[in-house]
Amino acid sequence: MRAGAELAISEINEDPCSLAKLVPVVIDPGGITASYVTAAQKLLCEKKITHIFGCYTSSSRKEVLPFFEKHDGLLWYPSHYEGFETSENIVYTGAAPNQHILPLSKHLLEHHGNRGWFVGSNYVWAWENNRILRERLMEVGGVVVGERYFPVGETDMMALAQQIVSDRPDFVFTTLIGKSGYAFFRALREAANAAGIDQPNDMPVASCSLSEAELPAIGSAASGHLSSSVYFSTINSPENNQFVSEWNRRFGDLGHACADAEATYNAVHLLSQAVTKAGSEGFTAVRDAVKSAQFNAPQGLVTVNPDNLHCAMRSRIGRSKSDGTFEILHSEAQPVQPDPYLVWSNSAKQPELRGNHLRVVR
């Protein structure tokens, strides 16, 4: 995320047409939830900073939000997340659930089948994505063959892998994060090979978070996994080709460009645009100016939805390759409007609160 921001900051500062000049102040809370509050307080109160980029996890975002409300700060949140939130103090440039898990469930049902095995890290990102996918499977008569959660950081995955191989689901859906995920990809591939199963084709692992940044950590089992994302480094467009070559020149040692870097890059550009339009860097002025703002991002046109401050973006499904990038299997033809509460994307029957006194007796 930081590298993506730095790339955008230098572009903006070097651009003679841009009125905004950005001076970054960096704090690294090191992934420790409590440290995010201290960091946010320091940036908002002591340094009097209005625009802050970051927070990968939902728990860190929820922790800092009250301080942004209190001090009129704007959090630019560049990560995909599980939705069910909107705030006047947050601009969300990552994908909402209707832009990641719904397209993935459609892809899995169309190409792989309706028997899924769910494995995840034990927190809200996993629970909520699994709930959404489970409901989709139920609607079409599918089955959740198995479901298991592990503490964040758990890496003993062999027993689980063997269980999954013996259950032979049509696909595996993972919401494991960090090294738990890497260990799982390796263990499943190993167990599948031992059983003579072509795992990538017959029992693919799908996720809504796997990115280029993580593939090297998986090692030899990194290829053949499905990921739902609004950005892959292999998108072929002039904007992305330029972004990727700049990225490789400056941050190539970090690996390939990925969705989180791109979303942060987009967020910084949207800030610069909004400040230029508003003629001010103040909270209310920028927040209002960013509504309906558009940016020709590496992933394509990104538009900030004026109602919920999430972005309209194109969903994509990619399959990881051994060279550490993704082959793009499917791209939505048009940007998908963000629907953080899944109000409009839900095909389930709507509630009738009045006059439904009859029930089916089973």
Partner: protein, 194 residues
């Protein structure tokens, strides 16, 4: 079977009764994001209470001036009600309790908390309605017990049967005709020949 909860509120009509201020603005805007259509008023009349699926009422001011229609409605006719609470004084909160509010939102109202309050109110209300229907059924059955006992005693006398056989006669009749047993008992008693 565990019933799934109601989690999407698209198309429901919400009535917000609250002075026109930042709280109301934040509430109405968040409800819009949740897909509800909203009417916002400073005061409401009874007809409006009947034309909404869900209502949000100010617990601080004017709750006593609200039409009492809701109070006269049975639990089955009422709609879920969410209290908008600024002042936590017991006298204010007593009104929230008496009105049977199914959930609440604390002021100052922000986006966070609105979805949870709507979800809890709608699902809690469903449960209450289900309980109310169940109570209604049980109450009817209970009031029928006396006439069933009368009919059993009458059948025992008339046919010289014991208590179990007399009851069985009634029950078989009710089963055959697919009617509640108290209705069969009532018919026999009024027909004069049990």
């Amino acid at each position: 079977m565990k019933r799934s909860i109601i989690q999407n509120f698209r198309g429901l009509h919400g009535l917000v009764v609250h002075p026109d201020d930042a709280n109301r603005h934040a509430l109405v805007s968040t409800l819009g994001k949740l897909g509800l259509t909203v009417t916002a008023k400073c005061a409401a009349d009874p007809s409006e209470l009947r034309n909404c699926d869900l209502m949000f009422i100010d617990a601080d001011e004017g709750m006593e001036a609200m039409p009492e229609a809701q109070g006269h409605m049975t639990a089955l006719e009422s709609v879920p009600c969410i209290a908008l609470i600024g002042n936590e004084a017991p006298s204010r909160l007593a009104r929230v309790v008496r009105r049977g509010c199914a959930s609440h939102i604390l002021k100052p109202i922000r986006n966070s908390g609105v979805y949870a309050a709507v979800l809890l109110a709608v699902n809690g209300h469903e449960l209450r309605q289900e309980n109310a229907r169940e109570i209604e059924v049980l109450r009817k059955r209970l009031s029928g017990r006396r006439v069933v006992t009368q009919a059993v005693v009458a059948i025992m006398k008339l046919h010289g049967l014991d208590q179990d056989a007399a009851y069985e006669l009634l029950r078989a009749d009710a089963m055959n005709r697919r009617l509640p047993i108290d209705q069969i008992a009532r018919e026999r008693m009024f027909a004069g020949s049990p």
